[in-house]
Amino acid sequence: MKTGSLRRVFSLVAVVALLLSACSKKSTTSAASSPPDTNGTLNLAYLADMSVPDPDVFYDIEGNTVILSAYEGLVDYKPDTVTIEPKLATSWDIAPDGLTYTFHLRSGVTFQDGTPFNAAAVKASFQRRISVNSAPAYMLAQVADMQTPDPMTFVVKLRSVVTPFMDYMASSWGPKIMSPKALTDNAGSDFAQTWAKTNADGTGPFKLTAFNRGQNYTLTRNDSYWGPKPNFATVNIRIIPDMNSQILQLKSGGLDVILHSFPIAELPTAKADPNLAIKDFSSYLQSLLYFNTSKAPFNDLALRKAVAGDIDRDTLVNQIYGTYAHPAGSPYAPGILGQSLAPIAYPTSTVKAPAGAPAITFAYTSDESGIQSRLAGLIQQKLQGQGFQVTLKEVTNPQVYGYASTPQTLAQAPDILLMTNTPDAAHPDTWARILWGTGGGLNFLGYTNPQVDTLLNQGAASTDKAASDQAYGKAGRLLVVDYGILFLADTRDVMVMRKNLTNVEHVPNYPWALRLGTLARS
C-alpha cells in the first residue's frame, strides 16, 4: 500500500526528469557535439551592463569595446603608444596660437546607414556633444566656433588654449562622429538621446545590431567599412556577472576573451591550460591611496609620511601583482609624461603609531579580481603591526564621488581611500587637474595646494611643450613630497584569451578593450 502511493509520486518525478532530460538531450546534440558555433563569432563578456552606447554620455570603462567598435573619432592612438594617428581625419594643422585646429577629412567613408561622411557630419556630432552637455562634454567646453570651408575640411576655433585638445580627440571618451541622418531622424526633444540609449550609427567596423540589457549586445560586421574588413562576422558580448562562471566558459570555449578583472592568483592555472593565453598590455591604470588631508589625523604631513614608510610599497606591489604591475615611478603613468620630470621614491621606514593616535577609517572600492580587497587587507595588517588602529570599509563609486561634495561630507569621509583610476586621455593635464587640482573630479578626498594649482594652470596655458611639461612635472614633484596622494602601482591591463586569437591590438588609453576590427582567429 505504501509502495503504491510512493510509486505514483515516483512516476511523477520520473516524468518531470524525463521531460527535462529529453529537452537537454535534444539541445545537447546541437550544442555539445559541434563545438559551440563560434566560427565567425567572437564571444566576449561584461561583468555588468554598460551604461549607454551613446558616445556623448558614456563615461565608464566597461563598454569601451562597444563604443570603439561602432564609432570612430577624428584621430586615434597607435596600439601600445601615445602616438596620435589619423582615423576619420587624414591630417590636421594647429595654428601657432594653439587656438585653431584644421582637420582634413578622409573621403569615401560612409556611415553604417549609408549616409556619406563629411565635414557637416563632424560639425553636427561636435554640436550634439555640446548640446547634450553630459560628462564628456567638458572636452569641447572651450569651442568658440566651428566651420566647414569645404565638405572635407573641418575647422575648430577655441576660446583659450587647451593643450590636451588633440588627446581629447583620440580619447575613447572623446568626440565620436555619429550619422547626421540618424541624429535628425531620431532627434526628438533630447538630441536623439533616447534613440542612442539602445542604438548606434557610426563609421566603425561593427554595427550595433542588438542591445539587450542584462543579456547581450550583438555587434555585426560593417560590410561597407572604409578600412580593412573585420575578420569576425559577429561579436556577441554577454553580461556574466560572476567571474568564476566567466572562467568556466573561457576554459570550455564558450568565451574567447576575459577582458578584465581576471584574478591574478588564477593566472598560473590559466597559463597551464594549453588552450589559453595570457596577454598583458601597458595601460595608464594607476593604483592610488588618497589621504584625507582636510582633517585629523592626516592633516599632519609627518603622519602621512610615516604611513607611507610603513606600507613598504615595493614589497606590497610585488606581493600582490607579481609581474603585472610595478611600483609607480611617477604620479604620471609612463608615456603620459617623462618619468624623470616627477620621480617617486618613498623611503621605507618603520614608524610606530604615535601614542594616542586616533583610529583610521580605510575605504576601498572593490573589484571582481579581489585585488583591491587584498591590497587593503595587507595595508591594514602592516599598519596594525605598527600600532595603528585601522577599520576597513568597502564602498561604491557613487559613494566615493560624494565625499568631497561639501566640507561636512569631507569631514565624515574616510581617512584613507584606495582606488584604481585611469586618465581620460594620454596627456598630463587630464590626469593632474582632475586628480589633485583643487576641486578636481577625481580629487575624492579634497586635496588642495595653491602652489600645485598655479603650476597646473601654467602647464595648461603654455603652447611650448617643454615648458608645459616642466610645469606639470613640478606640480607632480610637489605632490609627491607633500604625500597628498600615494601612488602605489602602475598596473598592466591583463586579459586571458583563447590561444587561437591573433592580431591582438590594444591601446594603453583604452583599458579593458581590444581592437575588434583587426582581431582574428587562426
Partner: protein, 331 residues
C-alpha cells in the same frame, strides 16, 4: 469570499504606501552622490547643480517623496541613474525573466516538497530527505557553482548561462515568458531550449523552499492522520493510499500553503545570488547592478515591485486556503 478579497485589496494599498515611505526614507539615508557620479569627474559645479535640479534632488525630502509617489501612482517610477531609462521600462525588460525562473522554481519546489512531505510522513524516505536537506543547507552560491562545474563544464549536458541559446531568436510574445510565448507561437524549439536553460538555476532556487514545504506538509499530515475522520475512513476499509492522498492531504494543505506564501519572500531574495551566477537577465541581476552603482530609483523600483508581488501572492494564498479548507470560511 468577496469580502475577503476586498479586505486584502485594501490592505495591499496600505502596505504598498507604507513600503514606499520606508524605501524612500532608507534611500535618503544613504550618503552618496549619484549625480556627481553620473555627470562625471570633469563636470563643472554648475553642470552638477543643473543635473541635480533636473532630477529633483535639490528639493526638500518630503517634496521629493510626494513627487515620487505621484509618479509611482501613474505607473511611472523615476529614471535609473545607470541605464538612463525609466525604471519601469527596465523592470518591464527584466521582470519576465525572474518570473519565469521563480515560476519554474515554485513548481519544482511544490513537486519536490510534496514528494518529500508525503514520503516522510510515514517515517520513511530517509535518503531523499537527507539529500534535500543537504541541498538546502548548502550555501546557494556554492551549490550553483558546483552544479555548473558538473553539468556544464564536465558533462556538457546543461548550458552555463542565459535564458536562450544564441542561435535562437525569442518569439517576442505577449508575456515575455519564453516558455509561454514559445507555446503560443508554436515555437517548440524555443520552449525546449528555454526549459533546458532554466533547469539548473530553478533547481538551485527551489531546494530551500522545497525542504521547508516538505517539512510543513509532513507535520500536518502526521497530525491529520491521527484525527477522527481519518480513523473513520480507515475503519471503512479504504486503502491507506486513498486515505493519505484523498482524505489526509486535502485537510493538510493549510499549513504548507502558508509556508509556501512565506517562502516566496526567500525565493525572491534568492534570485539575487542565483541570477548572478547563471547570468540570468532578471530583476536580481538588475538589483546587483543598481546597488553597485548606488542607483536609488532602480533599487526603490525593485523593492516596490518585489514587495507588491510578495503581498499579492500571500493574499492569493489566503484565498487558496479558504478554497482548500472550507472550515476556514466561518472564521
Amino acid at each position: 469570499m468577496l469580502k475577503l478579497i476586498l479586505t486584502r485589496l485594501a490592505a495591499l494599498a496600505v502596505i504598498l504606501l507604507a513600503l514606499s515611505a520606508i524605501v524612500f526614507a532608507l534611500e535618503a539615508l544613504i550618503p552618496a552622490d549619484p549625480v556627481r557620479a553620473m555627470v562625471g569627474a570633469s563636470a563643472t559645479k554648475e553642470a552638477v547643480a543643473a543635473k541635480r535640479h533636473e532630477l529633483g534632488f535639490d528639493q526638500p525630502l518630503p517634496v521629493q517623496y510626494v513627487r515620487f509617489l505621484g509618479r509611482a501612482l501613474g505607473g511611472n517610477l523615476s529614471q535609473s541613474l545607470h541605464t538612463r531609462r525609466p525604471v519601469m521600462t527596465d523592470l518591464r525588460a527584466f521582470l519576465p525573466a525572474t518570473l519565469e525562473l521563480a515560476g519554474a522554481a515554485a513548481i519544482i519546489a511544490a513537486v519536490l516538497g510534496g514528494f518529500l512531505g508525503i514520503v516522510t510522513a510515514r517515517g520513511k524516505g530517509t535518503a531523499p530527505r537527507l539529500l534535500m536537506l543537504a541541498g538546502a543547507s548548502a550555501p546557494p552560491f556554492l551549490l550553483a557553482l558546483a552544479l555548473l562545474m558538473l553539468f556544464y563544464a564536465k558533462w556538457h549536458v546543461l548550458p552555463s548561462s542565459g535564458r536562450l541559446s544564441a542561435n535562437l531568436t525569442p518569439p517576442g510574445g505577449p508575456t515575455g515568458l519564453l516558455v509561454v510565448d514559445g507555446l503560443l507561437h508554436g515555437r517548440f524549439d524555443v520552449v525546449s531550449d528555454a526549459l533546458w536553460h532554466v533547469a539548473l538555476p530553478a533547481f538551485c532556487l527551489a531546494l530551500g523552499p522545497a525542504v521547508a514545504l516538505g517539512r510543513t506538509l509532513r507535520s500536518s499530515l502526521q497530525s491529520v492522520l491521527t484525527q477522527d475522520h481519518i480513523r473513520t475512513a480507515r475503519a471503512k476499509g479504504l486503502k491507506e493510499r486513498t486515505v493519505l492522498l484523498r482524505h489526509a492531504l486535502r485537510s493538510s494543505l493549510n499549513a504548507p500553503l502558508t509556508m509556501g506564501g512565506l517562502q516566496v519572500g526567500l525565493l525572491l531574495a534568492g534570485v539575487v545570488v542565483i541570477e548572478s551566477v547563471f547570468a540570468w537577465p532578471g530583476v536580481g541581476l538588475y538589483t546587483v547592478q543598481s546597488i553597485s552603482s548606488t542607483d536609488f530609483p532602480a533599487v526603490a523600483g525593485v523593492t516596490l515591485i518585489l514587495g507588491a508581488l510578495y503581498v499579492v501572492i500571500n493574499a492569493l494564498v489566503d484565498v487558496a486556503q479558504v478554497i482548500a479548507d472550507p472550515r476556514l470560511r466561518a472564521a
